[in-house]
Assembly symmetry: C2
Homo-oligomer: 431 residues x 2
Amino acid sequence: MSALILVYDKIKDEMKMLLKNVFHNGKERNITIAEGKIAKIDLADNDNDKNAEVIDCRGKAILPSFANTHTHASMMFLRGIGEDKELFAWLNEDVWPREKKLNPELVYAMSRFAVLEMIKTGTTFFSDMYFYVDETVRAVQEMGVRAAISYVGMDFSDKDKTRSETEAMERFLAVKPPSERIVKVGGCHSVYTASEAMFAAAKELCEKYGAYIHIHASETEKEVADCLKEFGCRPVELLYKRGMLGKKTVLAHCVHLSYDEIKIMADTGTVVAHCPASNMKLNSGRMPWQKYLDAGLRLTIGTDGVSSNNSLSMMTEMKIAALSAKSISNDFAAGRTTDIFKAATANGFAAFGYNAGKIEEGAAADFILVDMRNPLLMPNHNMVSNMIYSADSSCITDVFCDGKRLMADGHVKDEEEIISGFAKAVTILGA
Amino acid sequence: MSALILVYDKIKDEMKMLLKNVFHNGKERNITIAEGKIAKIDLADNDNDKNAEVIDCRGKAILPSFANTHTHASMMFLRGIGEDKELFAWLNEDVWPREKKLNPELVYAMSRFAVLEMIKTGTTFFSDMYFYVDETVRAVQEMGVRAAISYVGMDFSDKDKTRSETEAMERFLAVKPPSERIVKVGGCHSVYTASEAMFAAAKELCEKYGAYIHIHASETEKEVADCLKEFGCRPVELLYKRGMLGKKTVLAHCVHLSYDEIKIMADTGTVVAHCPASNMKLNSGRMPWQKYLDAGLRLTIGTDGVSSNNSLSMMTEMKIAALSAKSISNDFAAGRTTDIFKAATANGFAAFGYNAGKIEEGAAADFILVDMRNPLLMPNHNMVSNMIYSADSSCITDVFCDGKRLMADGHVKDEEEIISGFAKAVTILGA
């Protein structure tokens, strides 16, 4: 056997993992991970793949990891600042003075810290919108998760800004991401912060580079009223007229949609990123989950940034989504556990083109292992319900993304250094 | 020195603990615990109490533990059962057939498991209402937490039942609890399950034994409408007429109070046990937190039983309480972090007569230690906000109740045995 073949086999073997005796669909199984995918789901007594690295999963269950479809990861430094303050006082006194001090290194430190929190709470994909996008790309690439990172136009109808924003968006989209784990996204911040020209430029660039589109839409009643006044139509109608909707577009919030807008969303296959905690905290209104679902909308779930949540945990967010869906409906079956869980996993990944967030042969190997003896997951009458309503980060022992083990027995690589880097960055940005 | 004095000193020393370098109010402190109380809060460099057992608390903060003022602890076996089902189908198919199989030993196993979950999520006091109350007393006494355990009358206007319930309530209240950690409580289940005679009997017994009173009240609009129809007044008005209200009465839910009822609650000093997750899950309505608080009501927080939550974590419950308070108000300052936290701690303890839930000299030594390097508690701009909005059980390292260390570095005594006992009980009750 030639040396070359030996090396090749070694590489191939290293890429294979066997999850032994892992609980899935009511039984213990052996699951093989190869080349970033769930390669084989077998019965536990079948002895497959002797060359694979074996991970003993007795007492653990495998579940899909979460996809957080709307956040601003690097706002971590704002968690807990200006709590209970009036919006403008908070922005003016707390947020903007600190954001002015941001620089690439600080955003990099924040992004890493946000990804650490996401891994620890079982999330392996997030759709992000913030400043210094290249630094978030860098952090995500290094830490092994997936992300859809948006550069969104925000020109406030200032023509110089339209041009500079368009150039910056193109610079971002034109460079291929460092791996398939990263998706570059364009778009505009919202109909109230971006002009018609900004939207036209964003649309052209997204078409040119085949990019996904991310926009805030219909978050508050004020946004809808202002839009009606200025444009004679509602935000989602305006976005439709501007050609921004479709299967590759994700609209964050969508709290206040008219019947016609719901129909537009369904017909175009546009994705909703539902952010229930943020909507409640900012008193933006209550999104009618079941009504949208029944109309065929593609529902996904996001945490929004920590400044209006203040957590990146998709487990808490699922609970709030389920409770919110039930509390605005007279239907016990509103906000069904299966629907909520799918929105927080497979639907979120699919919104950005990934076949992930499900434990199936051929799907990407993005998943978590949970400790079935953790009291929060007992009794195990309904694992999905437990994940939504009672689980927390203490239940998750291991996190995998793209076939790599990002958290092993509760420990994430470079965890202490990431925390220290964050603490230092927070000091620079001010108490 | 006589042998007797030596023994006495030894006992006294054993009861003393020194929390060294524990973070409190912006600084590291040394805190002495003696005879179940927070005896002294000192600067970290003062060298107090050389005889005390020293616990190194560097990197940890001390916070009050939580008081859960309305739950049904032993319903643990029902977590996740019949999710998203219509109420009657769920009761008929899932709940009642299992509850019929309950016996003292099963309730004991459930109570222990519930207390385990509470300790792990930082709760050291709960107010409970369920069957086989003596078994819950036993579990609480053994495990070292505090509880107010109610025997509530429920006679459905059946005179035989009124008599047997009255006798059972008296048997329960007449026996002194095994320690000051347990408060025995009387009352009635609700105005729709207990007759006027049942209420009269409960009132008499509670007066005779100086007992606190616990009642479900004004949970749903249907309850209010039925009460108006049958009695010509609303539930809280009826309870007032029946002499059930006062400083020693806790009403669970209180979602739908009229202006007059709010005034009655304030004037009598009656306590509200707010259960926001349960109210949302069962679509019972939304309690107007800020309106009640501004009217001077004594607000506390409860999780309700896991069958309508499905968690006993007061951290998640605080988040839902805060979001719910904000989402039904146009005021950014509604559901203030300080108010929510106080309701979940000091107010809850005070509702049942305990001077606890606060880090003050003289208060009972009920508290938690949290790991300040846990990402969910960073940055530390506002520790209370972090506990409400982003913390989970992974943040809590130690739990103390009545000066005893019930959880040490994440481990609770007999944890594995409690979990096994629960698993066995669940098997008996049916999948």
